[in-house]
Amino acid sequence: MADQTSTANAWPANSTPADLIPPGRKRLGWALMIAGTLVLLATIVMQILYKTEVDTIGFYTWRPVVYAYVLWGVALGAWQVLTRGEDGQRALFLLPALLFTIAMVIFPTLFGFYIALTDWNLSSFAGRKFNGLDNFWQMLGDPYYRNALFNMVLYVLAVLVEYVIAFALALLLNAQIRARKFFRVVFLLPLMLSPVAVSWMVGKSLMEYRFGPAATLARHLGWGNPAFFSDPITARISIMVLDAWTFIPFMMIMLLAGLQAMSREVIEAARVDGATTWQTFWQVTFPLMLPVSVTAVILRIIFKLKLADIIITVTSGGPGGATDSVSSFIYREYRDRSNVGYGTMLAMIYLIIIVVFVTWLLKFANRFVRNVN
């Protein structure tokens, strides 16, 4: 990878041409780079030999490999600067984030794909055993995983309701009102509070069947048996409500920014032409807000696809797995059964589904926005 690194120059004006760098400096750069690479490779080889018990020299953990990687990153940066002058300094802006992300994402994901193909239960002594696509076939027959995927569809659809509420709130905040700042802060608060702490207090005490104020209120409103988490459908709705409470402000703020960026003249022109408030909204405001809306909804869907903490804390997936999201299901697969191999397979399949879905969503949204405007 390192050899292919090269930066083109955006400002040709005052950069040091590569041939002005003294050869001694270049040689130093190359020496550093080669030394760094050798140290990294040597550490890895030594660890592999030690772990496979070919050799007795080595460390108990793989931690030294991490240090060697960091060292290699530093050597790479120094090599860039020493051999390529200003171009190298430019590459230095990008390198830390790039090396960090590659180490933290690419390697674990590849490793994850390998784990997914093994039968590996951390609590059994058998250890890791390659078993090909067995996990995949097991997954196809797993009704709980199918149910979790189906729940994700429902949870994602709930975003539309959240969007309507968020839009209404943004319109309210954009109206001619007093104490706008106060209301904005209050409406924003739920987003900042720990979903675990709040959903714990709300889900387990506010919505408690016997004494929770929400249950009492529901009884007063004529719902005789306000059990929020005991039958599958109500439980799902309760989870959606808890999650919506946290994340509606997020969409609201984006939509509010969109409303405020919209020029007032357009709306006033519509008014002058005799349009009612209702018509103005549907024919002027809403179409103009479409790009912002699409961004807000897509970002929200991306966050929704990660939903786990509220479900884990409030229902642990119950009743009978009815409220499980994919993430919370896999979490319990690991926590309760230590089934790393199978859990990882589920996660990897979920990743593939998400990537396909989000790619499709972005394409679809692009076309949608273009067609309407």
Binding site: M1, T7, G112, L172, S194, R335
Partner: protein
């Protein structure tokens, strides 16, 4: 013009009754939603002052319905009368609290540093890493946002065990940095794009190096954006539960994990639970109210052209 003005006023205030009606509706809706937002917080705070009877009878208003007491806070060792005594629960709580502070501040700082540098590079220079151009690199960073935590969780569990980072704060800091990095890059790219290139060109002519120009000229201008990104990252890290629950056990446990693990064997101590929840949400509530402007700035970066 005058015709338009009268026309506008007529449609705006059709009749006094309609005007009052719309005002009542707007303020009614605002107050209703404020109630929805605030009541759970109110409930959490007041419950920390209730005794068991007051909780189970659903008492709501302090001094009217029930007599507030430091019960919840005493069980955490944080009430006025127990603050001077030694308390194992308080030590435990403070340890978790410090873990949360260290991991979220550490991860946000690290993400701001490497994220700002990368965002600056991407907005100012053109790179070719093999066949990857700037757009591809940006997409690579931003696409990490899609990656659900659950995909990385189990591989990290295994890898962290191998490199002895399991149940350490450093381990969490690294993961949280990864989690907020796309957001930081997104916000900072927007920031740097809004700063005219001419400023740096002038600085370079005056003899500053490109890193000098970045630190002396660009950074001070981009500081509000950095604060915005930092606060947003803080919020996300402080509230993170999934990774913390999987990857920590005794040493590096954070506040959300402590909150979630309170369902003891002998039923739930509502008051201590509520006190704990209050302590978990208080820091961010204060930061949020004080620095709301920056939070909004961070969230709306790049969404409105």
């Amino acid at each position: 013009m005058s015709v338009q003005t009268t026309d506008y006023t007529v449609s705006e205030i059709r009749s006094p009754a309609a005007f009052v009606g719309s005002r009542v509706f707007i303020y009614g809706a605002l107050v209703f939603w404020s109630f929805v937002c605030l009541f759970p917080i109110y409930w959490t705070i007041t419950t920390s002052f209730k005794s068991a009877v007051d909780v189970t009878q659903g008492h709501l208003i302090p001094f009217v319905d029930f007599q507030p007491d430091w019960k919840g806070w005493r069980s955490l060792g944080l009430s006025p009368d127990s603050i001077s005594q030694t308390s194992t629960v308080r030590d435990e709580f403070l340890k978790r609290f410090m873990n949360s502070v260290i991991t979220s501040v550490g991860a946000s700082s690290l993400a701001i540093i490497i994220g700002s540098l990368a965002a600056y590079g991407l907005t100012r220079y053109r790179y070719h890493f093999a066949w990857f151009k700037n757009e591809d690199i940006s997409f690579f960073f931003l696409s990490q946002l899609i990656l659900p935590p659950v995909v990385l969780a189990l591989p990290f569990l295994v890898l962290y065990r191998e490199v002895a980072l399991l149940d350490t704060r450093i381990g969490l800091v690294l993961l949280y940095t990864l989690m907020v990095l796309p957001i930081v890059i997104w916000i900072m790219r927007d920031q740097f794009n809004s700063i005219p290139v001419e400023l740096e060109e002038a600085a370079l002519v005056d003899g500053l190096s490109i890193w000098g120009a970045f630190f002396r000229i660009v950074m001070p201008i981009a500081l509000p954006g950095m604060v915005a990104a930092f606060i947003l990252a803080m919020v996300l890290c402080w509230n993170e539960y999934f990774f913390a629950a999987l990857l920590t056990s005794t040493d590096a446990k954070t506040i959300p994990v402590m909150v979630a693990s309170q369902t003891g064997s002998q039923g739930i101590n509502w008051w201590s639970m509520a006190a704990l929840a209050t302590a978990a949400i208080a820091p961010l509530a204060i930061i949020g109210i004080a620095l709301e402007r920056y939070l909004i700035m961070g969230m709306t970066a790049g969404s409105v052209k």
